[in-house]
């Protein structure tokens, strides 16, 4: 047990003992990143398999579409990463999208200024998130039940507004948020395009990463996931942080509603059914432990892309019946959770 003293300042890299030591620390820290790496490998594997079996996967328009069609899922997954890192859960995000988008479309069609409509859409998410947060933090309701209540509430409110598809007016400025911007002009339709929605998703991922790793708020999120009791006794602002993460999750659901609605051009009270499960699956596949404390935003992005790519491959295959999709999602989820389980057991064994 001779551990050499770490130099107080970042000394020149390459000094032998510190390198070996750092490598060891890196490795033990990276054990928790293994599921994320596995998800990345699977993603790459799926791309290679898709390219070999069906072709036309590794090309600009397929990859652009993957991003464009899944940007809302990525945004949701970032929000759920925060929640799940604390050991909580948010079942309401799908329903929040339904309420937010139906309300937004109706307001916009009623002549509201598009900016105001978009703002209301996002705020609806924040307020519903706040409701969940208050129930959880101040009334001691379990996250599962509290967000179930918000889910029911949002879904019911959306249904009260309308039970038929609400079409966004063709000249609505909100549609412009889905304008396809050509980055690289390929031959024929093979262009690399992004939309403002994709840009929003990327910005949110970067912000999410920075908040988690570079702010005290983010560190408190991890601390709560490690042990809420410890975090409280350490004097960390646990109540405010827990409230904050549900507001973040709700707000991001509101933003996801804007991104999705602008792309689809319509909204309905049954929009987003089951998306909370997709988002949870993305987070888990990306390596975040459902018990909290360990995980990465970037992992969740990979998780979302794995799910998105799976849908692309199933469509391309044509031989796989669409009803198999949920079975396959379930299967992938199962494999990843078992992987997490095995790693946790391994880690416990090494601590012995």
């Amino acid at each position: 047990m001779t551990v050499t003293t770490r130099p107080p300042t970042g000394s020149a890299p390459g000094t032998a003992p510190s390198l070996a030591e750092r490598l060891g620390a890196r490795l033990s820290a990276r054990l928790s990143a293994l599921p994320t790496v596995a998800a990345l490998l699977i993603f790459v594997g799926m791309i290679i398999y898709g390219e070999a079996a069906y072709g036309r996967i590794v090309q600009f328009n397929t990859l652009s579409n993957l991003l464009v069609n899944n940007s809302h899922l990525i945004i949701l997954a970032v929000g759920l990463t925060f929640v799940i890192l604390t050991g909580g859960i948010d079942l309401s995000v799908g329903a929040v999208i339904a309420f937010s988008s139906v309300a937004g479309v109706m307001l916009s069609n009623a002549g509201w200024h598009p900016v105001a409509a978009v703002l209301v859409m996002v705020l609806i998410g924040s307020v519903l998130g706040l409701i969940s947060g208050v129930l959880i933090q101040y009334f001691g309701v379990q996250p599962f039940i509290a967000t179930l209540a918000t889910m029911f509430l949002a879904r019911g409110l959306a249904s009260m507004l309308s039970t038929v598809p609400e079409r966004l007016a063709d000249d609505s400025a909100i549609r412009e948020l889905a304008t396809q911007l050509k980055i690289i002009d390929g031959d024929k339709v093979n262009d690399l395009v992004i939309t403002p929605g994709v840009i929003a998703a990327i910005v949110i991922v970067v912000l999410g990463f920075l908040v988690l790793h570079r702010t005290r708020f983010g560190r408190t999120v991890y601390a709560i996931g490690g042990s809420e009791q410890s975090a409280t006794l350490m004097g960390l602002p646990v109540p405010a942080t827990k409230l904050g993460i549900y507001v973040i999750s709700g707000t991001l659901a509101g933003i996801a509603a804007v991104v999705y609605t602008s792309r689809l051009g319509s909204a309905q009270n049954i929009t987003g059914i089951g998306w909370e499960l997709d988002a949870i699956a993305a987070v888990v596949i990306g390596g975040t432990l459902l018990t909290g404390g360990t995980g990465f935003v970037l992992g969740s992005v990979v998780g979302a892309l794995v799910l998105g790519l799976m849908n692309v491959l199933i469509t391309r295959d044509g031989g796989i019946r669409p009803e198999m999709t949920t079975i396959i999602t379930g299967g992938i989820l199962l494999v990843f959770v078992i992987l997490q389980r095995v790693l946790a057991a391994r880690r416990r064994a090494t601590q012995g």
Partner: protein, 352 residues
């Protein structure tokens, strides 16, 4: 005298603290609302050998919910959760309809079909049990996987179609009458009573609570956690299968995307309304029954009042929030505080 009074007050306190009491109050309130809307709401008719009326409809509709709520109650007592009950319902329904549609419609066929459907449901429940108890996955995620996969399996069984079948004996399970009362409700009550007797007359209840409260301590005390968990998830699967048979037999059609859809949430809600904490431990089957009846009443009331059925979730949300608030320490201490203040002011008034 004061002794009797204080004992009565304590008794009253115990009743008021009992959450099922509030469930009963809520049912009465809902019925009262209906009576206001239509004074003849509670009237029960009798024609051609069976009772009819709104109350009878509520009882009939509550049967599937009672089944899954009781199963859920046992699972929740061990500290678990079963998100797959709705999906297992649709699998049982799909198996039944698919088998019956290829048969002649005899009672023997119905019995065989029933046995196979319930057998498959029990096996699916047992798979949950194995994932939780042997593999050691979190119940939330294991049953989430089964929830995703189950609906896929049902779709595969029927080839994605909504299968219809004819069999009078099978339909009798849901639509028949004995002594004027719907068979389905009688069956549900008999099953609930059997389960309750099994759990409370044996030491099963104590064992399940011990596991839910502290699984390590109960293991060292010799409680067989694995086999009990396996049993409980299998029973939950079996009861979900019965619920699926009830739900499909009434219309002799399985709707692969809607049968049992999100009913797991109703079941969880019923259990929570009944005063069982999702954290596991102390459970109340009677409470879960009251919760199930409340949900059935709520569903029927919403339809009766002419609100679109899709908006029902909003009312469920209100029920959840109100019950959770009543249960929360913060609100309770507020009540206590106010009562203390009132008592004090009374005392002062007397003194003056």
């Amino acid at each position: 005298m004061t002794d009797v009074a204080s004992r009565l007050a304590a008794r009253r306190g115990a009743i008021v603290r009992n959450q099922a009491f509030w469930g009963v109050i809520a049912i009465v309130l809902l019925l009262a609302v209906n009576v206001v809307a239509d004074p003849g709401y509670l009237s029960i008719g009798y024609n051609s050998g069976h009772l009819s009326g709104n109350l009878i409809d509520i009882l009939r509709a509550s049967a599937p919910i009672l089944m899954i709520a009781v199963g859920m109650c046992l699972v929740v007592a061990t500290g678990g959760i079963d998100l797959s009950v709705g999906s297992i319902m649709v699998v049982a329904g799909a198996v039944s309809m698919e088998l019956l549609s290829g048969m002649d419609g005899t009672t023997g066929d119905a019995a065989l079909t029933l046995a196979i459907a319930l057998g498959i449901a029990t096996v699916l429940g047992a798979v949950n049990g194995v994932l939780v108890s042997v593999v050691g996955l979190q119940p939330f995620i294991s049953t989430l996987v089964m929830m995703l996969a189950g609906r896929g399996i049902a779709k595969v069984i029927t080839g994605g179609q909504n299968t219809t079948a004819d069999n009078d004996s099978f339909a009798w399970l849901a639509n028949g009458y004995v002594l004027g009362v719907p068979v389905v409700f009688l069956l549900a009550i008999v099953i609930v009573v059997l389960v309750a007797l099994l759990v409370r007359r044996s030491a099963l209840g104590l064992m399940l609570e011990a596991i839910g409260m502290d699984s390590r301590a109960s293991r060292l005390a010799g409680v067989k956690r694995r086999s009990l968990q396996l049993t409980v998830y299998s029973v939950s699967g079996l009861l979900a299968g019965i619920a699926g048979v009830f739900a499909t037999a009434s219309v002799m059609t399985v709707d692969v995307s809607r049968t049992g859809y999100q009913l797991e949430l109703d079941a969880i809600l019923a259990v929570v309304i009944g005063g069982t904490s999702l954290a596991g431990g102390k459970f109340s089957i009677g409470g879960a029954v009251i919760g199930g009846l409340l949900i059935a009443t709520l569903d029927k009331t919403v339809v009766f009042l002419g609100v679109p059925a899709a908006a029902t979730p909003a009312f469920k949300a209100i029920v959840i929030v109100v019950l959770c608030l009543l249960q929360s320490e913060r609100v309770r201490s507020l009540f206590r505080h106010r009562r203390a203040l009132r008592a004090q002011s009374q005392k002062e008034a007397v003194a003056a």
